[in-house]
Symmetry: C2
Subunit: 117 residues, 2 copies
DNA sequence: CGTCTGCATTGACAATCATCAATTGAATCG
DNA sequence: CGATTCAATTGATGATTGTCAATGCAGACG
C-alpha cells in the first residue's frame, strides 16, 4: 500500500478539457485505513454483525451458551466468529467457571462510526 | 436500528441437561443484518476504504484515471474494487466521453453509521 | 479419582477474494 | 479509416474465508 499519494497530472490526453480536477491525496493514511478496514471486515459477516448487535443490546456479559442457539451454525463456527471479533478489538471475553462471557468493548466501533459521518 | 435477536434468560446449571433452550424465532432482521454486513464487507479493504474517502472528500465526481496513481495496484484491480463498491451500493459512476466519474451515494453509509451508534 | 460440561482449537474442505497480465470495448483524435 | 486513450472484462493463480467434524482442555461435580 502506497503512503505517498501524490497526484501526477496526466501528460497525454486527447485535446480538450482534462478529465477532472486534480484529486487531493486521501487524508486517511494507510495505517488508519487498514485499522478501520479491519473493523469493517470483522463486521462484514451477518453472523458477526448480529453477534455484536446482541451483545450490545444486552449491554452486559452474555454467555456463549446463550448465543449458540440464536444462529444456525455449529458451536465451533460461532467460536470462530467470536475470535474474529476479539482479534478486531470489537469484543472481549471473561471466563467465569465453565462459561465464557462476551461483551462489546466500549467505543470500539466509535472510530469507524466517526469516519462514516 | 437493532437486529432483534432475543436471548433466553440464563438458567442455573441444569446438571445433565442442555444449558439453553433453543430459540425458535422468525429472523425478521436477518435481511437487514445481511445488508449492513454487505456494506461493512465492502469497506473491509484498505484500498476500498481509501477510495471511498477520496471520493467523499472530493465531494464531486472523480475520474478513474486520477484514482489509479493513488494506489500501488493495477488498473484492472482498481476497477475490480470500484465494482465491489458499486455492487454494495456505496458508489455510482457516470460515463462522460472516455472517462468514468465515480461518486459516493450520499446516504449509502448512513445506514451502517446509524446502526453503529 | 473419573465423568460431564462449556468452550476453544485443529484439520480439512469448498467457496470467495485480491491480484495481475492480457484482452476487449468504447470514444476520441488525426 | 487507423491510432490512441481510458476503463471494464476475462482468465488464471495464490491467499483467505466460512464451515463442520473431531478433538483438546480446563473447571465443576460426584
Amino acid at each position: 500500500m502506497t503512503v505517498d499519494l501524490e497526484l501526477v497530472p496526466k501528460q497525454k490526453r486527447p485535446a480538450g478539457e482534462p478529465c477532472c480536477e486534480p484529486v487531493v491525496q486521501p487524508d486517511v493514511n494507510a495505517e488508519l485505513a487498514t485499522r478501520m478496514a479491519d473493523i469493517a471486515k470483522a463486521l462484514g459477516d451477518p453472523v458477526r454483525l448480529q453477534l455484536v448487535d446482541v451483545l450490545r443490546k444486552h449491554a452486559g456479559k452474555v454467555c456463549v451458551c446463550e448465543l449458540v442457539p440464536l444462529f444456525d451454525i455449529s458451536q465451533p463456527t460461532l467460536s470462530h466468529h467470536l475470535k474474529k471479533l476479539r482479534d478486531a478489538g470489537i469484543v472481549d471475553s471473561e471466563r467465569r467457571g465453565l462459561w465464557a462471557y462476551y461483551y462489546v468493548i466500549p467505543d470500539a466501533l466509535k472510530e469507524l462510526s466517526v469516519w462514516l459521518t
